[in-house]
């Protein structure tokens, strides 16, 4: 059962890796075929500073998704114990102990 869900996950990852792979290759091709133009704007400074920041965020999403799916497709995934911990309730700081209160009429 676990084995078949693992195979399904890998098949899904292969499809996603192909999708993000094509997208990533497209982005890299777009930048490197227009490298001079890109560099002339990205090194202007001032408000153009946002251009490299936005670019690396877009690339990290697309290329990061590709990398994640490639590892999954290769069967390199996190330990199951870590996966289980993920769904467990996070450890919390112990609740504060209620201070003793003085009641006019003691609670029942």
């Amino acid at each position: 059962m676990a084995e078949s869900s693992g195979v399904k996950a890998r098949k899904r990852a292969i499809k996603k890796a192909l999708f993000y792979g094509v997208l990533s290759a497209g982005l890299y091709t777009a930048v490197f075929t227009h490298a001079s133009l890109v560099m002339s704007y990205f090194t202007k400074g001032g408000l153009y500073a946002l251009a490299p920041v936005v670019t690396v965020l877009v690339f990290s999403y697309v290329h990061g998704s590709l990398a994640s799916n490639v590892w999954t497709a290769l069967g390199i995934v996190a330990s199951r114990q870590a996966e289980q911990k993920r769904v467990e309730k996070p450890v919390t700081v112990p609740k504060r102990v209620e201070r003793p209160r003085l009641y006019a009429t003691p609670p029942v």
């Binding site: 090194t43 400074g45 946002l50 920041v53 994640s68 330990s79 919390t92 700081v93």
Partner: protein
């Protein structure tokens, strides 16, 4: 002409070659792998690596910074999914670190004005060697003790217990780390991390041990939360460098292509190892980087006229320094990959045994 116009006229953005691209991709992958595992690392070899291709120093520093924050973001998201990241603590220390970075830059400027470039380089190398030897040795001893007991549980140090007992307003609760700490305990650590980032470019060599031994976090939680700090510091630094037009986006994207694969593999690796393994890798890298920087120091002493060395000797020492840094990263990456593979193998064997 933009803000960086005059400076840019003096700078030369290099022409990329296939061997150069391959070198940066591999360096990015290995650096990312180590970062994903111990929370930092890679920067100390990427900047000189880029410079060895002819990239001017400032462009190398700026481009390294610009690749660091998205890599840290991807690593942090991955490790957050494994329940290892304390976002709140990372953000608070990260913001305090920004202050440390600014102070660190001012100190660097003072040193540069007083003793020139060679004096500044000597100061950086001395800071590298002293801090890394002291902190690295301490981590190494601790990791050895934990390894002997083969314990997965890491006990808080006496210092950490004392820090946790300080009840000074404002107190902050960190649910993920199960800690309640005074802001006045977390802020100085962030400040020191930023100061180191501005001085030796790798704030995590102070930040991660600080979170473990001073605040009392586990190695897993500390190394993962360091990625949040690196993101905050990297984003702030990138905006400043990019404002002056210093970022070479081509270099950033090539390094990122490798490091995004590496950082995720490193993050996966942390789920298979015990805490002491992270400490081991960190200690080995820190101690060997210290040795590598020690080889670079005679050059600066020579420039300051304190010793006399032939250009050939300096060239050999520089070669040893850069070569040993690359070697450290390869050793670190090999340990991470082996530890991950062994962990995966053991888990599969356990699953098979359970039937």
């Amino acid at each position: 002409m933009g803000h960086g116009g005059d400076i840019l006229q003096m700078l030369k953005f290099i022409d990329l070659t296939i061997p150069g691209i391959t070198f940066l991709f591999i360096l990015g992958f290995i650096g990312g792998l180590v970062s994903g595992f111990i929370g930092s690392g890679g920067a100390f070899v990427l900047t000189p690596g880029m410079m060895s291709l002819g990239v001017p120093g400032t462009v190398a520093v700026a481009s390294n910074m610009c690749h660091k924050f998205p890599k840290a973001l991807v690593g942090a998201i991955k490790r957050y999914r494994y329940g290892q990241v304390d976002v709140k603590l990372g953000l608070i220390i990260g913001i305090s670190a920004e202050v440390g970075v600014q102070v660190g830059i001012q100190i660097q400027k003072l040193v540069l004005d007083a003793w020139g470039q060679a004096g500044s380089d000597l100061y950086v190398s001395l800071a590298f060697v002293l801090i890394l030897v002291v902190v690295g040795s301490f981590i190494q001893l601790d990791a050895s003790k934990l390894r002997k007991t083969n314990s997965a549980e890491e006990k808080s140090t006496r210092l950490a217990r004392w820090v946790q007992s300080i009840n000074l307003w404002p107190m902050i609760t960190f649910k993920k780390s199960n800690l309640r700490l005074s802001f006045w305990c977390t802020a100085p650590l962030g400040f020191a991390t930023g100061l180191m980032a501005a001085t030796i470019a790798v704030g995590g060599f102070v930040g991660v041990p600080g979170m473990i031994y001073i605040l009392g976090m586990t190695s897993l939680m500390a190394s993962a939360s360091e990625l949040v700090i690196a993101f905050v510091m990297g984003l702030g630094g990138t905006l400043i460098w990019a404002w002056y037009g210093m970022v070479d986006i081509r270099l950033v994207l090539i390094i990122l292509a490798g490091s995004l694969f590496g950082v995720q593999l490193g993050a996966i690796g942390t789920t298979f190892v015990k805490g002491y393994m992270i400490k081991y890798v960190m200690a080995i890298i820190m101690l060997t980087v210290a040795v590598s920087r020690a080889f670079a120091m005679p050059q600066y002493l020579n420039q300051l006229g304190l010793i006399s060395l032939s250009p050939k000797t300096i060239s050999i020492l520089n070669g040893i320094s850069f070569g040993s840094m690359c070697l450290i990263l390869i050793i670190g990456a090999t340990i991470v990959i082996f530890a991950t593979l062994l962990g995966m193998k053991a888990e599969r064997a356990a699953i098979l045994a359970e039937g």
